[in-house]
């Protein structure tokens, strides 16, 4: 058992001294003493010391759900353009499995060039297409990795893999690991917040931010774009703020009476939970109210208060980390451009790029201007990338691909203007600098001051980790 956190004890002492009703000095002493010994009910989200000096305090993870196409965005491959329409050499795909095997089984898949124009952006040697004009201007803020590899090529398992380190169910999400390891600086908000935009939520739903075998204290809390940001945050119909306050006061007083009589520290935790719930009822609506943001800021993101969008969520993400929230994950769907009538590489791709491009660049600049880049890590990427071969359905698209796909990191402790890893002439696989999803996870933990091999939780007789038994910190991208 960890020694009691002095800050927590102090908070508790303050709480009972200033707010205590019917709780004698003896009971207080006994309560604090109990914490000192067994600490069964210490606030699990109280800030905890990392393993070593962290670079970042918070993470904003821009999860591009569905798997963005690197070939329309970042991978400028003359060879692919030249051999457009030719079957991919057998050597690349012999014995390989892909999603939608049936479509691929009919004939050897053909290489697909892109219509989009690339231009060199920044000093690191990255090419960015005309679909991301705003991002092109800020690439020198990020460490771009071309060569991320994952293990699974279907959406739900691959999302779980990136979030939990395993394609199977039951493991905690990265945000849960981080709040378990570090607690949260936010006193009035959850430590792990999930935001969503686009036509639908991510595949796998709640399992993507579940706490697995960790206590549910650490599960991600979805914030909704409209209405109450958190389920049940708003008072029930017909209950005014005054009635709610009276109710909370009475509940607190009576819970303290019971605490005094039973001595169960769980009641003290429940009293504290109600206090935080009360604070959240003020802080969360204040948080999602973007009307206080300047017009200049809103315009920079392309955000419009009251109109749910990825842009609004990017503003919210900045506001969340400003308030000490540890892990903010933004899902934006749907990048799954197979070539269906409504999901292909023309209009639908252009739309989603427009939705994402400006706010992403704005988020980086906004964080920078406010000095938050020094304490925030921004991660961009999806569960996998897409094939250099085309997939022809009603329209033209690309299939899921897991050998090498792009992600980038930016912010505290991350090199700026770096491009890491090279792919082959078709962008099919890595030539140098392969980075596995477990390595990304290890790197994120590292930047927050946690050794991924030491952040463990014992379950079923085994010490589990986010990175399973794998993962190497990608030193090349660190400052």
């Amino acid at each position: 058992m960890n020694p009691p956190d002095p800050l927590l004890l102090q908070t508790r002492r303050h709480f009972f001294r200033d707010c205590g009703v019917g709780l004698g000095a003896m009971a207080l002493g006994s309560l604090l003493g109990r914490e000192a010994q067994a600490a069964p009910a210490a606030n699990p989200l109280a800030p905890k010391k990392p393993h070593f000096e962290p670079k970042a305090k918070s993470v904003i993870f821009l999860f591009m759900a569905g798997g963005p196409t690197q070939f329309e965005l970042f991978e400028d491959k003359p060879e692919l353009q030249k051999l457009h329409g030719q079957p991919i050499p057998e050597s690349f795909i012999k014995g390989r499995r892909f999603a939608f095997m049936n479509t691929f089984a009919k004939e050897t898949p053909k290489l697909l060039g892109t219509k989009h124009k690339f231009a060199r952006a920044g000093d690191g040697g990255l090419s960015v297409s005309d679909l991301f004009p705003h991002f092109a201007k800020v690439v020198d803020e990020v460490a771009f990795i071309r060569t991320v590899a994952t293990n699974v090529f279907n959406h739900a398992p691959a999302k779980l893999f990136l979030n939990t380190g395993s394609p199977q169910f039951g493991r905690p999400a990265m945000g849960s690991w981080l709040t378990y390891g570090l607690g949260s600086e936010a006193q009035d908000l959850p430590g792990f917040v999930v935001l969503q935009s686009g036509p639908r939520g991510p595949r796998g739903g709640a399992l993507n931010w579940g706490s697995g075998f960790l206590p549910s204290t650490y599960q991600g809390v979805p914030f909704r774009a409209g209405g109450d940001p958190i389920v049940n945050l708003g008072r029930p119909a017909g209950i005014t703020a005054d009635r709610q306050k009276d109710t909370l006061d009475a509940v607190a007083d009576l819970n303290k009476v019971r605490l005094d009589r039973t001595g169960d520290p769980e009641i003290a935790t429940r009293i504290a939970a109600y206090e935080m719930a009360y604070r959240m009822q003020t802080s969360a609506p204040e948080l999602i109210d973007l009307s206080k943001e300047s017009k200049k800021t809103l315009d920079m993101y392309g955000a419009e208060p009251g109109k749910p969008s990825f842009a609004n969520n990017c503003v919210l993400a900045r506001r969340l980390v400003e308030r000490g929230v540890r892990f903010v994950q933004l899902y934006h769907a749907d990048w799954d451009h197979h070539g269906d009538a409504n999901l292909h590489l023309d209009g639908p791709l252009e739309t989603i790029c427009r939705e994402v491009d400006r706010p992403t660049a704005a988020l980086l600049m906004d964080l920078k201007q406010r000095g938050l880049m020094d304490s925030t890590l921004v991660v961009w990427g999806g569960e996998f990338g897409r094939t250099p071969m085309g997939e022809i359905r009603e329209k033209v698209g690309r299939n899921h691909h897991i050998d090498a796909y792009p992600m980038w990191l930016a912010g505290a402790g991350v090199k700026r203007g770096l491009v890491h890893g090279e792919t082959d002439e078709f962008g099919f696989g890595p030539v140098t600098g392969r980075v596995h999803v477990h390595d990304i996870q290890a790197t994120i933990l590292h930047l927050l001051g946690l050794d991924h091999t030491k952040l463990t939780y014992r379950f079923q007789g085994r010490d589990f980790r986010l990175t399973d038994v794998h993962g190497e910190v990608v030193r090349e991208v660190l400052t």
């Binding site: 006994s30 003493g33 109990r34 067994a38 499995r97 999603a99 279907n154 739900a156 398992p157 199977q168 169910f169 039951g170 959850p190 969503q196 639908r200 991510p202 796998g204 739903g205 709640a206 399992l207 960790l214 549910s216 204290t217 979805p222 909704r224 209405g227 389920v231 049940n232 945050l233 029930p236 119909a237 017909g238 209950i239 005054d242 009635r243 709610q244 009276d246 109710t247 009475a250 509940v251 009576l254 819970n255 009476v257 019971r258 009589r261 039973t262 001595g263 169960d264 769980e266 935790t269 429940r270 939970a273 109600y274 935080m276 719930a277 959240m280 299939n399 379950f459 007789g461 085994r462």
Partner: protein, 750 residues
């Protein structure tokens, strides 16, 4: 190095001279062969790593071979994969992969040993044995002698008290009668006692008053719901397919089968056999087939572009892992990719278990016409008839292989169904064993694990923690039992009493140990802060479904019908905004609105938020013990979820219907209905002051009454109709009821 080589060569030359010709009895495996493997191979094929599933640091390992099959073929060195690997022959990568390799003479020595019959030392063919406690036979001992014999209600108490006396600790006094009644009612049925039940128990001063309550509760059909729900955690029961699409499924007939089986006290032995292999029983009944739904609770991936075989294999793996956890309390899943690092379980043995579950079809079983519901699941065509999901053995068995690294695209050596060697063997049978044999083996009297695991899990529900704290790991990495003799006594008793679960519940809840007060003991804070010695009971927050049930019961709104299709009570807006496929949730206005929490429709990708806030399992994998967290989201649920305001309105109406007209009477009555007990004076005063303040407020602001009552759903509308009571009083009473339902004690069993 050179010197070493010279010596080795000289030695080998002598050896070769000596062994030329016929089989040479002088070849000693332990002396002449094993040291070579230990020196050159064990780094990758030894105690820490077993590449290709091969272990060469023990004779048993060499004999057993790798994931690709045997490595030694006696008398035929050229055909032995071991020799081929040492020589880099037959397209095998030469082993060891780097220098220093074995010298030609050393390879010759191994070749000669194989050609001379590959004699292993005695014992290499013996199954692995373990001295670990849980693999040893159950050995019940007589309850120990104690000093305070008057404290011993049944043998459980003797075991517990002996430990306490040894440590010089006094047990706690018995809980007061109301606390005890509320505790045992919640523990056995998941519902708090009614006022009549409390009154009757308080009045009953006979010696066996408590025991008769226990009998009544064990006969209650709600007992099957309460303990059925625990089983459904293990079964990973849900009403949808999971993964990304998360389509609805119909498998509630299995859920109802569980409730019935528990209520009938179907012996656990039979309970096991029917769920794992009901379809294989001679003349299997429909019910027995329904029971096989246990292993149909795996998820189904309907995402486009998947390889169906991959997810079929994943379901089989989940079945193996679940079976291992639920019955054996072992983390067999660790062996999916490699031999178990800590327990005597080999990867091969994992796939032998896999082979039992690799031979089924997954049909739906017709059950007759579909029952009517308040609110059919929208977006799903009402089925012509009711069906449920079952398992059915295939006529032509599938081949099973070791899957290298757990990867279904990399099959290794073929395996046949079998059980781990560290446990008692399957009875010899003429045919290949099947699921039925496995099920019977799991509940055979000499299986040391199943009875221990089951009684320990039950114990954990009553005391917050099992005797073995790691209820899902009885292996070497788990914690040893706090009371090993008690565990064995209970396990033996379970088998002796024909696997009667009711008998075990009765034994535990009638023990003096169980009946102790749960009040904290300052004197134990240094000696036993975690209450492992059981000198008191514990306060436990109710499980997610029971939080709802307890409040519904207090409100008088509860619809206590058992079973049937899952239902749609109200839930907050926007739950489906975070899922791939948005589902509609049309809340019931009829009686289904007030069904017990276990009947709430469970979408895996978007479960009811009130359930998840209170730690309901996500039905992704088997859950052997729920977490018990204590969070602000729970506070928000109780405070603001429309359902709970509705229950408060129900409770307020009930207080009025029961004729309580004065403030103090109303306070006492609401308190009793929710908590069972009378308030103490401090509580009474605080609540009365609250009630009075709200009443004054609503009298001054009558326009606030209607929105409040209207906002509280159908129950609020009922309250609005009780017009003989002034409106301000009704509104104030609703808020009073809401305070009471928000108390920690209301959602806690003490």
């Amino acid at each position: 190095m050179i010197r070493h080589f010279v010596i080795a060569s000289t030695w080998t030359a002598a050896f070769l001279v000596a062994t030329t010709g016929a089989a040479d009895p002088a070849v000693d495996y332990a002396r002449d062969i094993q040291p070579l493997f230990t020196r050159s191979c064990a780094e990758c094929h030894g105690p820490t790593k077993q590449k290709a599933g091969l272990r060469l640091d023990t004779a048993a390992g060499v004999r057993e071979g790798s994931n690709n099959g045997p490595v030694v073929t006696a008398g035929k060195s050229a055909e032995s994969r071991l020799v081929q690997a040492l020589n880099g022959a037959n397209d095998l990568k030469q082993m060891p992969p780097k220098e220093p390799r074995l010298s030609a003479a050393e390879v010759a020595r191994i070749t000669a040993w194989i050609d001379h019959g590959a004699k292993f030392p005695a014992g290499a063919d013996q199954p692995r044995k373990s001295t670990h406690w849980s693999f040893q036979p159950i050995r019940p001992s007589a309850p120990p002698a104690v000093k305070r014999t008057d404290w011993v209600g049944n043998p459980i108490d003797a075991f517990v008290l002996a430990r306490l006396e040894k440590n010089g600790i006094f047990p706690s006094p018995e809980a007061d009668k109301v606390t005890l009644l509320r505790r045992v009612s919640l523990d056995l049925t998941g519902l708090p006692p009614t006022l009549d039940e409390v009154a009757a128990f308080l009045k009953d001063s006979s010696a066996d008053a408590y025991e008769r309550v226990v009998e009544r509760l064990l006969r209650s059909p709600h007992y099957g719901e309460r303990w059925g729900r625990h089983w459904l955690d293990l079964a990973r029961y849900a009403d949808s397919n999971g993964y990304s699409i998360d389509s609805p499924r119909t498998i509630w007939p299995y859920r109802d089968w569980v409730i019935r089986a528990i209520n009938e006290d179907k012996p656990f032995e039979q309970f096991t056999v029917e769920q794992l292999a009901g379809d294989l029983l001679p003349g299997a009944t429909t019910d027995q087939k329904v029971a096989t739904g246990f292993h149909r609770n795996t998820q189904i991936n309907e995402e486009g572009g998947i390889d169906p075989e991959q997810f079929r294999v994943e379901a089989v793996i989940d079945r193996v892992n679940t079976t291992g956890s639920v019955w054996l309390g072992l983390t067999v899943g660790c062996c999916q990719c490699h031999n178990h690092k800590f327990d005597p379980l080999a990867q091969r043995e994992y796939y032998q278990l896999f082979a039992f579950f690799n031979n089924q079809d997954e049909p739906t079983l017709p059950l007759g016409p579909a029952p009517k519901t308040d609110t059919p699941a929208k977006g799903k065509k009402a089925p012509a008839g009711l069906t449920t999901m079952v398992l059915q053995e295939r006529v032509t068995p599938r081949e099973s292989h070791i899957l290298k690294g757990g990867d279904f695209t990399r099959p290794g050596a073929e395996v046949t169904p079998g059980t781990p060697a560290v446990l008692p063997p399957l009875p010899a049978a003429p045919q290949t064993p099947n699921r039925l044999d496995l099920a019977k083996w799991l509940v055979s009297p000499d299986n040391p694990l199943t009875p221990r695991v089951i009684v320990n899990r039950i114990w954990g529900v009553y005391f917050g923690t099992g005797l073995v704290e790691t209820e899902n790991d009885f292996g070497t990495q788990g914690t040893p039992p706090s009371h090993p003799e008690l565990l064995d006594w209970l396990a033996a008793e379970f088998v002796r009493r024909d696997w009667s679960l009711k008998d075990m519940h009765r034994l535990i809840v009638t023990s003096t140990t169980y009946r102790q007060s749960s009040a904290s003991r300052p004197d134990l804070e240094t000696t036993d802060p975690r209450n492992r010695l059981l000198a008191r009971q514990v306060r436990l927050r109710l499980e997610a479904e029971l939080v709802r049930d307890a409040c519904l019961a207090a409100s008088g709104l509860l619809d206590a019908r058992i079973g049937g299709p899952s239902v749609f009570p109200p839930q907050p807006e926007g739950v489906f905004r975070f899922t791939q496929v948005s589902r509609t949730w049309a809340p019931s206005d009829g009686p289904d609105r007030y069904r017990r929490g276990m009947y709430t429709y469970f979408w895996r990708a978007s479960p009811h938020p009130a359930l998840m806030s209170f730690d309901a399992p996500d039905a992704g994998t088997t859950c052997t013990r729920r977490n018990r967290s204590n969070t602000p989201l729970q506070a928000l649920t109780l405070l603001n979820d429309a359902g709970f305001t509705e229950y408060a309105a129900g409770l307020a109406s009930r207080v009025l219907r029961d004729g309580k007209a004065t403030g103090p009477d109303q306070v006492d009555h609401a308190f009793r209905l929710a908590l069972g007990r009378e308030p103490i004076e401090l509580e009474r005063q605080r609540l009365a002051a609250f009630l009075e303040k709200q009443r004054t407020h609503f009298a001054a602001y009558p326009e606030e009454v209607t929105p409040l009552l209207e906002g509280a759903g159908p129950a609020g509308k009922m309250l609005a109709k009780l017009e003989e009571t002034p409106a301000a009083d009704r509104a104030a009473l609703l808020l009073l009821a809401r305070v009471v339902l928000n108390l920690d004690e209301c959602i806690t069993r003490e």
